[in-house]
Assembly symmetry: D2
Homo-oligomer: 122 residues x 4
Amino acid sequence: MTDTAPTTGEAACFEAGIKFGTLYHQFAGTPLSPHSAASIETAMEEAIENQPHCTDVTVEVQRDALEAELADSAADYTELTGRFLEVEIVVDYEGCEVVTRMAMEDGYPLMTVVSVRDADAN
Amino acid sequence: MTDTAPTTGEAACFEAGIKFGTLYHQFAGTPLSPHSAASIETAMEEAIENQPHCTDVTVEVQRDALEAELADSAADYTELTGRFLEVEIVVDYEGCEVVTRMAMEDGYPLMTVVSVRDADAN
Amino acid sequence: MTDTAPTTGEAACFEAGIKFGTLYHQFAGTPLSPHSAASIETAMEEAIENQPHCTDVTVEVQRDALEAELADSAADYTELTGRFLEVEIVVDYEGCEVVTRMAMEDGYPLMTVVSVRDADAN
Amino acid sequence: MTDTAPTTGEAACFEAGIKFGTLYHQFAGTPLSPHSAASIETAMEEAIENQPHCTDVTVEVQRDALEAELADSAADYTELTGRFLEVEIVVDYEGCEVVTRMAMEDGYPLMTVVSVRDADAN
């Protein structure tokens, strides 16, 4: 058992994780309403796509969950948090493509690696 | 000299300050490029307009300052911070309209109250 | 009815609002547990006290609310949000002291001006 | 060339990346002075250590860089950003230990995987 430098796939997954942490913690807490949902989706996608090795970001604010929350509330807006989000982020790092996703699972916004495709592997 | 409850104008200015602190510290640090500038402007405006008593928000990413920063950099994006922003926020609190602004002054993103207009005053 | 420049009290309340918006939106979303509650309190206080005209900040993470939330959860941490916070911020702007507070009211973290004390007033 | 599920090492590196993105984008923009440097270090460490699979976080605010920035400034505080930070994060995911680090390189706060140690490998 020895320490080793990361493989290309490991480095690619590290990069994908950075994008997810960035997306979530940059924007969590943003005032959110049905009216502003589309603009924050676009801004989140374009902001994270600026980061190195990030080829595609798709953010979908869950309108049903948002409407349900507001129906129970005296306010007409709330704060952006994981239960209103589904996100897919694709990273391409030195020929290795990693697809990652965030969605609610058991009440927690779970971030997972869906697939790793290494162009150099056979 | 005694403590007093706030006037309507003071409460209105407090509300305007909240919006400015929110706007700045929610979005500072967002990855920013010329390509993503328009979408973050719209998202910031619509997010802050969700907050109570906020009637209008105008955000202008300073493209010249952004292009100048990137011309000196190896990267093709940077982080959103005050020197790339000019912002105007209008609050209407119980009939009192407060206009507030942020712009760079002496290298610091200065937030100021431009005017207070109280409908009840003569 | 005319637009006027802000009074000292109005400018002081604007400054206090900025501090509240900063505190809330800088730190909302931070991973929070009973173990880390004391360190985030201190960091929030000292960070905001750096800002101009801010003389005192007191942050109290509501341990009861936090423990109650975690008792209902599979996770052993959550995200910092308004329902876990009580905050007092004191601003002194050109001799005018403003005391402001945030606490939960009707399920919403309400920020209010408690008192304004202008040294120049009689 | 096919898509595959992530290896344990890849999943571990994804987790480590999440922690880095979280740390950076949660706290970037925080008002920072030499006085508040120690408290934000502790708060960042304890906040991120709350996250799953995160065994150790070390944050060092670079006092020299901070003092140099403030010597050139009219203000006595600035905003936390990558050039004031050195960070090490250790993740243990299903027996795989990943050591990751952030430090300035060519004017950019570079996040890298230092080593991956898989207990199951020989």
